[in-house]
Symmetry: C2
Subunit: 190 residues, 2 copies
């Protein structure tokens, strides 16, 4: 088997999710994932440090994508505009053709408490990345943390709605609606 | 050694923190904690499932305390008033005489990435507990989640300020000021 395999990472990720759903996350090994994908175990470890990274390996890229969208927003952008730009950037990842994969991923995570904890943690790091990017734009605290938390909550809600079985809408549409609803809800706090 | 030991839980918790700071969290065993406290190892395991619970065992109680304060707030209380009542309830735990212990705890957590992750996770469960309690009061989403996130952020900031080396202020004062600042910052989002 050659060292270069076309689409190896995608094939491994698909096979991993199939096996996690068939046999359970705990019971699946990296060797079995590689075998299902028709690849060597060593190929698995060239692409992922462990099986958990199949599910969470995209997080650093997502943090950077969000951070870059915020720092790259026009000077005239308000804090809420800037985090809105981050949600638009997220839509480049949450494309319609990726929905089935994300749905499967969520089903695997929902079935395992360690994975649910990891998911919560990753969302906390995403909020922190957004708050940092806002501070780089000169937005001071507590506005920077507040805008980041609102965007994080909008992202979480949008993610849940977007993977829903009957959803037909684009990620960006949903995310902006959620962000707008949270912005509007600030008038209902007291 | 008798089965009943006065203040065993507090003695174990103090000894654990001493050892975590002296030798590192990873290198400390439950047996060593019990020995330092002058208690049997079996006594340790009657009070804590493992050494991590020494640091995080109070979380369920905190979630309940916050939730009960919110559900028990007067009918006339707005969402922001209700989460303010939760922060007042927190002040019954974060009393001046406990500050040294909480400072040590934070130092241990800061030095270990697994513990920092656990801390983030626990804060997410606290926000979820507050949002649930607000929904029980009839506050609908997204206002319930928003108020809970604001309170969670105020709690986090207040906790950091309260444990600060030169702090002299009460937890409730700091927490209310932080919550007020976040509430005011909603006018700076756009």
């Amino acid at each position: 088997m050659g060292r270069w395999e076309p689409n190896a990472r995608e094939r491994l990720a698909s096979s991993a999710l199939e096996l996690f759903l068939e046999r359970g996350y705990e019971s699946t090994t990296a060797a079995e994932i590689a075998e299902r994908a028709g690849l060597a175990k060593s190929t698995f470890f060239r692409h992922f440090t462990d099986k958990r990274e199949v599910l969470f390996g995209g997080q650093d890229a997502l943090n950077h994508l969000f951070g870059d969208a915020i720092t790259g927003a026009p000077d005239s952008a308000t804090p809420i505009d800037a985090v809105g730009a981050a949600l638009d950037a997220a839509a480049t990842i949450f494309r319609p053709e990726r929905r089935a994969w994300v749905q499967q991923r969520q089903a695997v995570i929902a079935g395992n408490s360690d994975l649910r904890e990891r998911e919560l943690l990753k969302r906390a790091t995403l909020a922190a990345a957004m708050a940092d990017a806002l501070r780089k734009r000169g937005v001071t605290d507590p506005t920077a943390s507040l805008a980041a938390e609102l965007a994080s909550l909008a992202f979480r809600n949008a993610h849940t709605l977007w993977v829903g079985p009957t959803n037909q809408r684009d990620f960006a549409d949903i995310a902006h609606q959620e962000l707008h609803a949270l912005r509007a809800a600030t008038a209902e706090l007291d």
